[in-house]
């Protein structure tokens, strides 16, 4: 699948994230390297405590690494100020969270408009785009409701609409179906698949191997803060190669 001329949207080079917890140092991410190309559907897989949340925060530039470098669209994020990073994040990455993370005292549509405010779009623009996005996630009739009045599936669709607000290149989804039943979860995944077909890069963090295998082209298996293996979807998982183990040290 990977061609040389494909555009790399996110690249991690020997990234480490250490936390101090009392007297111990927790190595949440310990030397991870990966490249994600434009248009990929990538899953980051691992049990709880494997460091996948930290990984997702680093990829989403919500957090900065203790060691190593992260490139977002070819730019080293360590050179950005906190504010510039926020702007970059708002423009290039759309977040979808397990617990939806909508703002409760705003309506669904207003939630979708929020990211656009921070990019300085005027009200007319925001209205137009929010209406389109609400239409895309098929919630036009519910857009003036507050998140509390919507079902879980509907809330996650609002969150998808919000993640698309500034037409980002990357959608970063953290356990997007974690709080949903199987059926609504499937609907949400359909939306993500659809977006991927339209060219969006999707990075999904999950602990569910079936979900990862069912939707992602590439799965990064995380264990104890390290990428244990990478598997690629090739005409069904069962017969495909089990991937190669990449050790960060070996990578140039």
């Amino acid at each position: 699948m990977r061609k040389e001329d494909e555009k790399v949207v996110i690249e991690l080079k020997g990234v480490c994230k250490y936390y101090r917890m009392g007297d111990n140092i927790v190595r949440a991410v310990d030397g991870a390297s990966l490249k994600i190309n434009e248009g990929d559907f990538v899953a980051i897989m691992g049990p709880s405590g494997s460091g996948k949340s930290t990984m997702m925060n680093l990829i989403g530039s919500l957090d900065v690494p203790t060691k190593g470098k992260i490139f977002l669209d070819g730019e080293d994020i360590s050179t950005f100020s906190e504010s510039d990073l926020a702007q970059l994040r708002g423009k290039k990455i759309g977040f979808i969270f397990q617990s939806f993370n909508l703002i409760n005292n705003l309506t669904a549509k207003e939630n979708v408009m929020i990211p656009m405010i921070f990019q300085g779009h005027d009200l007319e623009d925001r209205n137009f785009r929010a209406n389109k996005l609400m239409q895309l996630v098929q919630l036009t009739d519910r857009m003036h409701h507050s998140p509390g009045e919507l079902s879980g599936g509907q809330q996650q669709r609002v969150a998808i609409a919000r993640s698309l607000a500034n037409s980002p290149e990357v959608i970063l989804a953290d356990e997007p179906t974690g709080n949903l039943d199987t059926k609504t979860g499937a609907t949400v995944m359909d939306f993500l698949e659809d977006l991927n077909k339209k060219g969006k890069t999707i990075i999904m963090v999950t602990h569910d191997p079936d979900l990862a295998k069912a939707h992602a082209d590439t799965v990064y298996w995380l264990k104890d803060g390290k990428i244990e293996k990478i598997t690629k979807k090739k005409n069904g998982w069962d017969k495909g190669p089990r991937g190669v183990l990449i050790k960060p040290k070996e990578k140039k």
Partner: protein
């Protein structure tokens, strides 16, 4: 973008409902106090001054006892002033003229209604009488004033004419006859409204009539003194005080009489009002201070409660400055809303107070809404809210997005 933060802030304040309102209580009370104080201030001064009979003339008033809010001047005084005192004062070199006045209470009957009112005398001599009219600062609305030789005739205060409900629905006008202590008098004039309860309800008659009616001989309830040199009011006042101390055999500092000049009375009035103003200013200051603490408290709590929201905002691209402004504006709006509510209540209190004074004291004050005052009060409360919000807003802005998202 700032406008968007305003609308976001408004939504947040609305969302928090009762808590927002409780927070701005302090600012509200402070602003109410300031606005009502200032809108009532001038009216209050005029009302108190007119009640104490202060007018802009330059005459000295001498009374036995002192300024008393109860009963007519000179009443309830054991050792009253006499005609002898009047004559002695008039002989002082710094005094141009001294006129005796008597005031007593009378039973007034008209149209089968009986009301008790003050009856005051005017001297027979024209020059003396003019002095009294100057001191009273009154003008006739209907008819004419008492003249020399007017016997059995009275001039009445405005309320005898204006408040006909007192007299069974009939206005008293010149030409009508009223009975005072069972003796008939013809009304010859009605004075114009003064705005003082005492002056608007007074009955004025000739000194001789008053003597006949009340049977006093020598007693002077009040002595009105015209100084020779109006520039030397204070000196004249001291001369009179010295004279009366000697005549009455009292030491300095133990006077059982009072010599008052308009300025002195006015400064008494100002002292009273000044005290009230300082009190209200302190109340206002304390409430605003409490208001600031309240806002800081609410905003700090709000930052903690909305940690997750801050995280969400940051994850969708909010800069630190965006978060700062959102909380800062919210805090400023809290102050402003408190100011608006306070200004409305303050103006309302000023208005009701003025209406109240006009009704109960008979003053004729008008209330004017001071837009400049309101503008600065609102600006002030907006700024106070903002200042109170700076530290909480900074706390909000510097939240780590990862930590904040955890809630």
């Amino acid at each position: 973008m700032i406008l968007d933060f305003f609308s976001l802030a408004l939504k947040n304040l609305k969302h928090r409902g009762i808590r927002s309102w409780l927070t701005l209580l302090g600012i509200f009370i402070g602003v109410t106090a300031v606005v009502s104080l200032i809108s009532l201030g001038n009216g209050l001064q005029m009302a108190v001054a007119s009640q104490l009979g202060v007018s802009a003339n330059e005459l000295i008033t001498v009374q036995a006892g002192g300024l008393s809010a109860y009963g007519p001047p000179g009443s309830n005084v054991v050792d009253s002033l006499t005609q002898g005192d009047v004559d002695a004062i008039e002989r002082l070199s710094s005094v141009e003229n001294a006129v005796r006045r008597n005031i007593d209470s009378g039973r007034i009957e008209f149209n089968d209604n009986v009301i008790f009112r003050y009856v005051g005398s005017v001297p027979n001599n024209k020059e003396d009488r003019d002095l009294i009219y100057e001191q009273l600062n009154m003008e006739v609305l209907l008819g004419r004033f008492i003249k020399e030789g007017d016997s059995g005739k009275v001039v009445l205060g405005y309320n005898f004419y204006g408040k006909k409900e007192d007299w069974g629905g009939k206005s008293i006008t010149p030409g009508k006859t009223i009975s005072i202590n069972d003796k008939n008098f013809q009304v010859i004039g009605i004075t114009d409204k003064v705005g003082s309860m005492m002056m608007d309800n007074i009955v004025i008659m000739n000194e001789n009539d008053m003597k006949d009616l009340y049977g006093f001989e020598d007693k002077a309830d009040m002595i009105i003194v015209e100084p020779k040199n109006k520039e030397k009011l204070q000196k004249t006042k001291e001369d009179i005080e010295k004279l009366l101390r000697n005549r009455r055999g009292v030491k300095e500092g133990e006077e059982d009489f009072e010599v008052s000049t308009p300025e002195a009375t006015l400064s008494t009035v100002n002292n009273i009002i000044g005290g009230v103003q300082i009190f209200i200013a302190i109340v206002a200051f304390i409430s605003v201070f409490i208001g600031i603490i309240g806002i800081v408290n609410t905003m700090t709590t709000s930052v903690l409660e909305r940690k997750k929201e801050i995280g969400i905002m940051k994850s969708v691209g909010a800069k630190n400055s965006h978060i700062f402004f959102q909380f800062f504006i919210e805090s400023s709006l809290l102050g402003l809303v408190g100011g608006i509510v306070g200004a409305i209540f303050g103006t309302l209190i000023g208005f009701l107070g003025t209406v109240g004074m006009n009704n109960f004291l008979g003053t004729e004050l008008t209330i004017s809404i001071n837009f400049l005052l309101i503008f600065f009060t609102l600006l002030g409360s907006f700024l106070i809210g903002g200042i109170a919000g700076i530290i909480p807003a900074m706390q909000a802005a510097k939240q780590n997005p990862v930590e904040a998202l955890k809630g």
